[in-house]
């Protein structure tokens, strides 16, 4: 058939994913916290602010269990192409207060904090080397991705891990976008078995965790 353009408007009725409990082996789990920074999370009226509490709970569980934690921090330089070529207002400049991670979940000494200079933690960063060095390997590690925005940077991280064959967990109370609609649109993307939805309250760590196939819903 001949290609037909989209209608001018499309109405979507999106079912919200149902979170489910997961039991994870801390040796086969990484918690990746994306951009939980003052610029994004300080406004008490925002869903990003509301996600701090879930992150604090999940981070405590991961630290207590000994799971690997990686913070991803978004920074820019005045020379970043967003500003010099594409005309955006400078923001997130290195060293400024707005780039600091929220104090409730501040990284501890020895934890990995990886700076990046775009939305995507895999774009021109050492993330892949960090994962290999820490034996966080595809198809045998569950990666829990938290942070903001669920529709931009946390999304790039989430699909980046799934596309690299990691079992990718989305704790819905630990990710946030600017609105419920934006979150619903993004969560509709995560339809394959390599994604699973949960909550910070539903994540437990135990020496014998669920297998990747169980997390993927492929096996009971």
């Amino acid at each position: 058939m001949a290609w037909t353009p989209l209608p001018d408007k499309v109405t979507l009725k999106l079912k919200t994913p149902v979170p489910r409990p997961v039991t994870l082996d801390p040796k086969k789990t990484a918690l990746v916290i994306v951009d939980m920074q003052k610029r994004f999370c300080s406004n008490p009226e925002s869903r990003a602010y509301d996600a701090v509490e879930g992150n604090a709970l999940l981070l405590k569980k991961a630290r207590d269990a000994g799971a690997k934690v990686i913070f991803v921090q978004s920074v820019r330089t005045p020379e970043s192409l967003e500003f010099t070529v594409f005309g955006q207002e400078p923001r997130l400049l290195e060293g400024t207060e707005e780039t600091e991670i929220m104090p409730e979940i501040a990284p501890l000494e020895g934890e990995i904090v990886m700076k990046r200079y775009s939305h995507d933690p895999f774009a021109r960063t050492p993330l892949w080397d960090i994962l290999l060095e820490n034996k966080i390997l595809p198809a045998e590690t569950a990666v829990i991705v938290t942070g903001v925005s669920a529709a931009v940077c946390a999304n790039a991280a989430t699909i980046g891990f799934s596309n690299r064959h990691y079992m990718t967990l989305i704790p819905m109370d630990c990710q946030a976008a600017g609105s419920e609609e934006q979150e619903a649109l993004i969560y509709a993307k995560y339809s394959e078995n390599s994604y699973a939805f949960t909550l910070s309250t539903m994540v437990e760590f135990a020496p014998v965790g669920m297998t990747m196939k169980q997390l993927a819903g492929v096996e009971a």
Partner: protein, 224 residues
């Protein structure tokens, strides 16, 4: 405030993007053709079958102008994690008819073909090195991403270019998913995180200036 879960169902009315005309310098333009393979474009039904013609037109223009063309081709092995861990039936096995690029736009000698083993051309597959070798830099190069699925592999490719700060265009008659998935995906490109360097066009609306006539990249502000 305490975190509030989403409602069980969220209803959203999305406006779809309006394509625009572009005249591009061929020496600073890349066409990335994603997964236009028999498995997606010759089987069954759906919008993926309808985008071959647009790709033929766009590639003819790009070839005539001398723009860089890169194909990516999705292939899998029996041992791929999608099959062994994540429960997906065997698909796109190396060497099968399914994994071949459709005859109508088969790569020509001199075109670059990158095989990939996941949805994402940016995951491990050498695209960065190819762009660097060709001198196609972020901030001065426009990339048109065609192919399927607009919400899966072509989406990963397009987001990856935008995230690496390339001016990224979606020729809408050259890429496809379901109507709902296209609308949802394009809504993300039109949102604040991406609209600054992404835009929409059609194969009929893209023209190339003669080589050397346009040395500057497109004024991107005009695309938003």
């Amino acid at each position: 405030m305490a975190w509030k879960p989403l409602p069980e169902t969220v209803t959203i009315e999305l406006e779809t993007p309006k394509p625009r005309e572009y005249t591009l310098p061929p020496e600073k333009t890349v066409i990335l053709v994603v997964d236009m393979e028999n498995y997606f474009c010759k089987r069954g039904q759906g919008r993926s079958l309808d985008v071959i013609k647009g790709n033929v037109r766009l590639l003819a223009k790009a070839r005539a102008a001398g723009a860089k063309i890169i194909y990516c081709q999705s292939v899998r092995q029996v041992e791929s994690p999608e099959h062994t861990v994540y429960g997906r039936p065997l698909h796109l096995l190396v060497g099968t008819w399914d994994a071949q690029i459709v005859d109508e736009i088969a790569p020509l000698p001199g075109d670059t073909v990158i095989q990939k083993w996941s949805h994402d051309i940016w995951a491990w597959h050498g695209l960065e090195a190819e762009l660097e070798k060709e001198g196609l830099k972020a901030g001065e190069t426009t990339v048109l991403v065609t192919g399927v699925s607009a919400a899966g592999c072509a989406h990963a490719a397009a987001l990856g270019f935008s995230n690496r700060k390339y001016h990224t265009l979606i020729p809408m008659d050259c890429t496809a998913a379901s109507i709902e998935a296209e609308a949802r995906t394009y809504a993300q490109y039109m949102s604040g995180g991406y609209s600054y360097n992404m835009g929409f066009t059609l194969s009929t609306m893209v023209e190339f200036a003669p080589k050397g006539v346009m040395t500057e990249p497109m004024p991107v502000a005009a695309t938003v």
